[in-house]
Subunit: 181 residues, 2 copies
Protein backbone atom coordinates (compact mmCIF):
# COMPACT_ATOMS: atom_id res chain seq x y z
CA UNK A 1 0.00 0.00 0.00
CA UNK A 2 1.17 3.49 -0.80
CA UNK A 3 1.70 5.28 2.47
CA UNK A 4 1.74 9.07 2.67
CA UNK A 5 5.29 9.93 1.72
CA UNK A 6 4.93 13.69 2.19
CA UNK A 7 7.86 15.12 4.13
CA UNK A 8 6.96 17.53 6.93
CA UNK A 9 10.10 17.29 9.08
CA UNK A 10 13.82 16.90 8.31
CA UNK A 11 15.05 13.32 8.62
CA UNK A 12 18.51 14.57 9.66
CA UNK A 13 17.65 17.09 12.41
CA UNK A 14 13.86 17.03 12.96
CA UNK A 15 13.21 20.66 11.98
CA UNK A 16 10.01 21.49 10.04
CA UNK A 17 10.92 21.67 6.35
CA UNK A 18 9.92 24.23 3.74
CA UNK A 19 8.79 23.17 0.28
CA UNK A 20 10.78 25.35 -2.12
CA UNK A 21 12.70 25.03 -5.36
CA UNK A 22 16.41 24.65 -4.50
CA UNK A 23 19.04 26.66 -6.41
CA UNK A 24 19.85 24.98 -9.76
CA UNK A 25 16.76 22.78 -9.50
CA UNK A 26 13.40 23.17 -11.20
CA UNK A 27 10.86 21.63 -8.87
CA UNK A 28 9.90 22.05 -5.21
CA UNK A 29 11.70 19.87 -2.64
CA UNK A 30 11.39 19.57 1.10
CA UNK A 31 14.30 21.72 2.32
CA UNK A 32 15.50 21.98 5.90
CA UNK A 33 16.01 25.60 6.96
CA UNK A 34 18.23 24.48 9.87
CA UNK A 35 20.70 21.95 8.44
CA UNK A 36 20.19 22.45 4.70
CA UNK A 37 19.26 18.86 3.87
CA UNK A 38 17.24 18.57 0.67
CA UNK A 39 14.80 15.66 0.66
CA UNK A 40 13.90 13.92 -2.57
CA UNK A 41 10.89 11.63 -2.99
CA UNK A 42 11.51 9.15 -5.79
CA UNK A 43 9.64 6.38 -7.58
CA UNK A 44 9.60 2.91 -6.04
CA UNK A 45 10.39 -0.38 -7.74
CA UNK A 46 8.14 -3.41 -7.39
CA UNK A 47 9.79 -6.73 -8.27
CA UNK A 48 8.22 -10.12 -8.82
CA UNK A 49 7.99 -13.27 -10.89
CA UNK A 50 5.67 -15.19 -13.17
CA UNK A 51 6.29 -18.74 -11.93
CA UNK A 52 5.63 -21.45 -14.51
CA UNK A 53 5.04 -25.19 -14.01
CA UNK A 54 4.40 -26.99 -17.29
CA UNK A 55 1.49 -25.17 -18.95
CA UNK A 56 0.39 -23.62 -15.66
CA UNK A 57 1.29 -20.39 -13.91
CA UNK A 58 1.26 -19.56 -10.22
CA UNK A 59 -1.01 -16.90 -8.76
CA UNK A 60 -1.43 -15.76 -5.16
CA UNK A 61 -4.65 -14.55 -3.54
CA UNK A 62 -3.82 -11.40 -1.56
CA UNK A 63 -4.31 -11.42 2.18
CA UNK A 64 -3.55 -7.69 2.59
CA UNK A 65 -4.96 -4.44 1.32
CA UNK A 66 -5.13 -3.07 -1.26
CA UNK A 67 -7.10 -5.58 -3.32
CA UNK A 68 -7.34 -8.13 -0.55
CA UNK A 69 -8.90 -11.36 -1.86
CA UNK A 70 -7.88 -10.73 -5.48
CA UNK A 71 -5.23 -12.67 -7.40
CA UNK A 72 -1.73 -11.43 -8.09
CA UNK A 73 1.74 -12.57 -9.06
CA UNK A 74 4.26 -12.83 -6.21
CA UNK A 75 5.84 -9.35 -6.01
CA UNK A 76 6.71 -6.57 -3.62
CA UNK A 77 8.85 -3.52 -3.04
CA UNK A 78 12.53 -3.84 -3.94
CA UNK A 79 14.81 -3.46 -0.91
CA UNK A 80 18.10 -1.61 -0.58
CA UNK A 81 21.10 -3.87 -1.16
CA UNK A 82 19.46 -6.29 -3.57
CA UNK A 83 19.16 -6.45 -7.34
CA UNK A 84 15.80 -6.55 -9.11
CA UNK A 85 16.33 -10.28 -9.68
CA UNK A 86 17.25 -10.94 -6.04
CA UNK A 87 14.20 -9.00 -4.91
CA UNK A 88 11.94 -10.94 -7.28
CA UNK A 89 13.26 -14.24 -5.90
CA UNK A 90 12.85 -13.05 -2.31
CA UNK A 91 9.24 -11.99 -2.87
CA UNK A 92 8.43 -15.31 -4.55
CA UNK A 93 9.77 -17.13 -1.53
CA UNK A 94 8.05 -14.82 0.99
CA UNK A 95 4.62 -14.70 -0.64
CA UNK A 96 4.25 -18.17 -2.15
CA UNK A 97 7.01 -20.24 -0.56
CA UNK A 98 7.77 -21.33 -4.13
CA UNK A 99 11.17 -22.55 -5.29
CA UNK A 100 11.98 -21.12 -8.69
CA UNK A 101 14.85 -20.45 -11.07
CA UNK A 102 14.72 -17.09 -12.86
CA UNK A 103 14.73 -17.17 -16.66
CA UNK A 104 15.11 -13.52 -17.54
CA UNK A 105 13.23 -10.27 -17.32
CA UNK A 106 9.76 -10.49 -18.89
CA UNK A 107 8.11 -7.08 -18.36
CA UNK A 108 9.02 -3.58 -17.20
CA UNK A 109 5.87 -1.61 -16.45
CA UNK A 110 5.80 2.09 -15.66
CA UNK A 111 2.95 3.17 -13.40
CA UNK A 112 3.74 6.88 -13.23
CA UNK A 113 0.39 7.73 -11.60
CA UNK A 114 1.54 6.04 -8.40
CA UNK A 115 5.27 6.62 -8.88
CA UNK A 116 6.22 2.97 -9.44
CA UNK A 117 8.15 0.80 -11.87
CA UNK A 118 7.27 -2.92 -11.85
CA UNK A 119 9.64 -5.67 -12.98
CA UNK A 120 8.46 -9.24 -13.58
CA UNK A 121 10.81 -12.14 -14.29
CA UNK A 122 9.97 -15.41 -15.97
CA UNK A 123 10.55 -18.13 -13.40
CA UNK A 124 10.65 -21.89 -13.76
CA UNK A 125 9.19 -23.68 -10.75
CA UNK A 126 11.54 -26.36 -9.45
CA UNK A 127 8.77 -28.29 -7.74
CA UNK A 128 5.12 -27.75 -6.79
CA UNK A 129 5.73 -27.27 -3.09
CA UNK A 130 4.02 -24.07 -1.92
CA UNK A 131 4.03 -22.41 1.48
CA UNK A 132 2.15 -19.10 1.31
CA UNK A 133 3.31 -16.40 3.72
CA UNK A 134 1.11 -14.11 5.85
CA UNK A 135 0.43 -11.76 2.91
CA UNK A 136 -1.12 -14.59 0.86
CA UNK A 137 -4.44 -16.38 1.49
CA UNK A 138 -3.82 -19.07 -1.07
CA UNK A 139 -1.37 -19.89 -3.86
CA UNK A 140 -2.25 -22.18 -6.73
CA UNK A 141 -1.50 -23.10 -10.33
CA UNK A 142 -3.73 -22.03 -13.20
CA UNK A 143 -3.81 -23.05 -16.85
CA UNK A 144 -4.40 -20.18 -19.29
CA UNK A 145 -8.10 -21.08 -19.56
CA UNK A 146 -8.46 -20.97 -15.77
CA UNK A 147 -6.92 -17.52 -15.15
CA UNK A 148 -9.40 -15.44 -13.11
CA UNK A 149 -9.07 -12.38 -15.39
CA UNK A 150 -11.91 -10.55 -13.63
CA UNK A 151 -10.36 -11.09 -10.23
CA UNK A 152 -6.80 -9.91 -10.83
CA UNK A 153 -5.48 -7.37 -8.34
CA UNK A 154 -3.46 -5.09 -10.61
CA UNK A 155 -3.17 -3.99 -14.26
CA UNK A 156 0.57 -4.79 -14.16
CA UNK A 157 -0.30 -8.41 -13.35
CA UNK A 158 -2.87 -8.57 -16.15
CA UNK A 159 -0.45 -7.07 -18.69
CA UNK A 160 2.34 -9.42 -17.64
CA UNK A 161 0.11 -12.51 -17.90
CA UNK A 162 -1.29 -11.38 -21.28
CA UNK A 163 2.21 -10.79 -22.62
CA UNK A 164 3.41 -14.16 -21.36
CA UNK A 165 0.58 -16.11 -22.99
CA UNK A 166 0.97 -14.10 -26.22
CA UNK A 167 4.67 -14.95 -26.65
CA UNK A 168 4.74 -18.38 -24.95
CA UNK A 169 6.19 -20.94 -27.29
CA UNK A 170 7.38 -18.33 -29.80
CA UNK A 171 10.95 -18.34 -28.53
CA UNK A 172 10.52 -14.63 -27.73
CA UNK A 173 12.53 -14.05 -24.59
CA UNK A 174 12.65 -10.27 -24.93
CA UNK A 175 11.58 -7.69 -22.37
CA UNK A 176 8.18 -6.09 -22.90
CA UNK A 177 8.00 -2.44 -21.75
CA UNK A 178 4.56 -1.02 -21.03
CA UNK A 179 3.23 2.24 -19.60
CA UNK A 180 0.15 1.86 -17.43
CA UNK A 181 -1.88 5.08 -17.70
Amino acid sequence: MLDDRTIHFCRACGTAVRHEIPPEDNRPRAMCPACGTIHYVNPLNVVGTLPVWGDQVLLCRRNIEPRKGLWTLPAGFMELGETTAEGALRETEEEAGAHVALEGLLTVLNVARVGQVHFFYRARMLDTHLAPGPETQEARLFSEAEIPWEELAFRTVRETLQHYFRVRGQGDTGVHCIDIA
Copy 2:
Protein backbone atom coordinates in the same frame (compact mmCIF):
# COMPACT_ATOMS: atom_id res chain seq x y z
CA MET B 1 25.79 12.07 -5.62
CA LEU B 2 24.49 9.72 -2.96
CA ASP B 3 23.50 11.83 -0.01
CA ASP B 4 23.20 10.34 3.44
CA ARG B 5 19.71 8.87 3.41
CA THR B 6 19.78 7.65 7.02
CA ILE B 7 16.58 8.58 8.84
CA HIS B 8 17.02 10.07 12.31
CA PHE B 9 13.70 11.89 12.70
CA CYS B 10 10.12 11.13 11.63
CA ARG B 11 9.08 12.92 8.44
CA ALA B 12 5.47 13.08 9.65
CA CYS B 13 5.88 14.46 13.18
CA GLY B 14 9.58 15.25 13.77
CA THR B 15 10.10 12.79 16.64
CA ALA B 16 13.42 10.90 16.87
CA VAL B 17 12.89 7.45 15.33
CA ARG B 18 13.98 4.03 16.58
CA HIS B 19 15.51 1.49 14.25
CA GLU B 20 13.64 -1.74 14.93
CA ILE B 21 12.08 -4.62 13.04
CA PRO B 22 8.35 -3.91 12.69
CA PRO B 23 5.81 -6.68 13.36
CA GLU B 24 5.43 -8.98 10.29
CA ASP B 25 8.63 -7.57 8.77
CA ASN B 26 12.12 -9.06 8.73
CA ARG B 27 14.50 -6.12 8.66
CA PRO B 28 15.05 -2.98 10.72
CA ARG B 29 13.15 0.16 9.71
CA ALA B 30 13.10 3.67 11.12
CA MET B 31 9.93 3.61 13.26
CA CYS B 32 8.37 6.61 14.95
CA PRO B 33 7.53 5.93 18.60
CA ALA B 34 5.11 8.89 18.62
CA CYS B 35 2.95 8.58 15.48
CA GLY B 36 3.81 5.06 14.35
CA THR B 37 5.04 5.97 10.88
CA ILE B 38 7.39 3.35 9.43
CA HIS B 39 10.01 4.81 7.07
CA TYR B 40 11.35 2.72 4.19
CA VAL B 41 14.51 3.57 2.30
CA ASN B 42 14.36 2.12 -1.21
CA PRO B 43 16.59 1.87 -4.28
CA LEU B 44 16.70 4.80 -6.69
CA ASN B 45 16.30 4.69 -10.44
CA VAL B 46 18.70 6.51 -12.76
CA VAL B 47 17.36 7.09 -16.28
CA GLY B 48 19.22 8.22 -19.38
CA THR B 49 19.87 7.79 -23.08
CA LEU B 50 22.54 6.76 -25.53
CA PRO B 51 22.02 9.42 -28.23
CA VAL B 52 23.15 8.36 -31.70
CA TRP B 53 23.91 10.50 -34.77
CA GLY B 54 25.03 8.43 -37.74
CA ASP B 55 27.98 6.35 -36.53
CA GLN B 56 28.61 8.65 -33.58
CA VAL B 57 27.32 8.71 -30.02
CA LEU B 58 26.89 11.65 -27.66
CA LEU B 59 28.80 11.93 -24.41
CA CYS B 60 28.75 14.67 -21.76
CA ARG B 61 31.70 15.78 -19.63
CA ARG B 62 30.45 16.07 -16.05
CA ASN B 63 30.53 19.46 -14.36
CA ILE B 64 29.47 18.12 -10.96
CA GLU B 65 30.78 15.63 -8.44
CA PRO B 66 31.18 12.73 -8.32
CA ARG B 67 33.49 12.11 -11.28
CA LYS B 68 33.61 15.77 -12.30
CA GLY B 69 35.51 16.14 -15.59
CA LEU B 70 34.85 12.56 -16.71
CA TRP B 71 32.57 11.55 -19.59
CA THR B 72 29.09 10.13 -19.16
CA LEU B 73 25.83 9.54 -20.98
CA PRO B 74 23.03 12.02 -20.22
CA ALA B 75 21.22 10.53 -17.21
CA GLY B 76 19.93 11.38 -13.78
CA PHE B 77 17.53 10.39 -11.03
CA MET B 78 14.01 9.49 -12.10
CA GLU B 79 11.41 11.88 -10.67
CA LEU B 80 7.98 11.13 -9.23
CA GLY B 81 5.20 11.42 -11.82
CA GLU B 82 7.25 10.45 -14.87
CA THR B 83 7.96 7.17 -16.63
CA THR B 84 11.49 5.86 -17.13
CA ALA B 85 11.28 6.97 -20.78
CA GLU B 86 10.02 10.45 -19.87
CA GLY B 87 12.80 10.82 -17.32
CA ALA B 88 15.42 9.71 -19.84
CA LEU B 89 14.18 12.31 -22.33
CA ARG B 90 14.12 15.02 -19.66
CA GLU B 91 17.69 14.29 -18.56
CA THR B 92 18.89 14.32 -22.17
CA GLU B 93 17.35 17.75 -22.63
CA GLU B 94 18.64 19.07 -19.28
CA GLU B 95 22.19 17.80 -19.51
CA ALA B 96 22.97 18.03 -23.22
CA GLY B 97 20.18 20.19 -24.68
CA ALA B 98 19.89 17.45 -27.29
CA HIS B 99 16.71 16.71 -29.23
CA VAL B 100 16.20 12.99 -29.54
CA ALA B 101 13.56 10.36 -30.29
CA LEU B 102 13.66 7.29 -28.06
CA GLU B 103 14.08 3.92 -29.80
CA GLY B 104 13.55 1.48 -26.98
CA LEU B 105 15.18 0.34 -23.78
CA LEU B 106 18.80 -0.73 -24.28
CA THR B 107 20.15 -1.66 -20.83
CA VAL B 108 18.89 -2.25 -17.29
CA LEU B 109 21.81 -2.24 -14.87
CA ASN B 110 21.55 -3.18 -11.22
CA VAL B 111 24.05 -1.44 -8.95
CA ALA B 112 23.01 -2.99 -5.66
CA ARG B 113 26.08 -1.70 -3.83
CA VAL B 114 24.72 1.84 -4.05
CA GLY B 115 21.03 0.89 -4.16
CA GLN B 116 20.40 1.97 -7.74
CA VAL B 117 18.89 0.63 -10.95
CA HIS B 118 20.00 2.36 -14.17
CA PHE B 119 17.95 2.41 -17.39
CA PHE B 120 19.43 3.55 -20.70
CA TYR B 121 17.35 4.04 -23.86
CA ARG B 122 18.61 4.07 -27.44
CA ALA B 123 17.92 7.54 -28.78
CA ARG B 124 18.11 8.88 -32.33
CA MET B 125 19.35 12.48 -32.42
CA LEU B 126 17.04 14.66 -34.50
CA ASP B 127 19.74 17.26 -35.18
CA THR B 128 23.22 18.10 -33.89
CA HIS B 129 22.18 21.16 -31.92
CA LEU B 130 23.53 20.88 -28.36
CA ALA B 131 23.07 23.17 -25.38
CA PRO B 132 24.74 21.66 -22.30
CA GLY B 133 23.13 22.55 -18.98
CA PRO B 134 24.92 23.58 -15.77
CA GLU B 135 25.77 19.95 -14.87
CA THR B 136 27.70 19.47 -18.12
CA GLN B 137 31.05 21.07 -19.08
CA GLU B 138 30.88 19.95 -22.66
CA ALA B 139 28.81 17.64 -24.89
CA ARG B 140 30.14 16.17 -28.11
CA LEU B 141 29.86 13.33 -30.58
CA PHE B 142 32.34 10.43 -30.63
CA SER B 143 32.87 7.64 -33.12
CA GLU B 144 33.51 4.22 -31.58
CA ALA B 145 37.29 4.64 -32.10
CA GLU B 146 37.23 7.99 -30.30
CA ILE B 147 35.40 6.90 -27.12
CA PRO B 148 37.50 7.95 -24.09
CA TRP B 149 37.22 4.54 -22.40
CA GLU B 150 39.71 5.47 -19.70
CA GLU B 151 37.84 8.67 -18.84
CA LEU B 152 34.30 7.34 -18.45
CA ALA B 153 32.56 8.36 -15.23
CA PHE B 154 30.65 5.16 -14.41
CA ARG B 155 30.68 1.41 -15.06
CA THR B 156 27.03 1.59 -16.13
CA VAL B 157 28.04 3.99 -18.91
CA ARG B 158 30.90 1.73 -20.00
CA GLU B 159 28.68 -1.36 -20.05
CA THR B 160 25.95 0.43 -21.99
CA LEU B 161 28.39 1.72 -24.61
CA GLN B 162 30.08 -1.69 -24.93
CA HIS B 163 26.72 -3.40 -25.36
CA TYR B 164 25.60 -0.84 -27.94
CA PHE B 165 28.72 -1.25 -30.09
CA ARG B 166 28.53 -5.05 -29.75
CA VAL B 167 24.99 -5.30 -31.11
CA ARG B 168 24.96 -2.26 -33.41
CA GLY B 169 23.95 -3.31 -36.89
CA GLN B 170 22.86 -6.78 -35.78
CA GLY B 171 19.19 -5.90 -35.62
CA ASP B 172 19.29 -6.81 -31.92
CA THR B 173 16.90 -4.41 -30.24
CA GLY B 174 16.58 -6.41 -27.04
CA VAL B 175 17.17 -5.19 -23.51
CA HIS B 176 20.49 -6.17 -21.94
CA CYS B 177 20.32 -6.74 -18.16
CA ILE B 178 23.55 -6.48 -16.21
CA ASP B 179 24.52 -6.60 -12.54
CA ILE B 180 27.36 -4.26 -11.59
CA ALA B 181 29.16 -5.81 -8.63
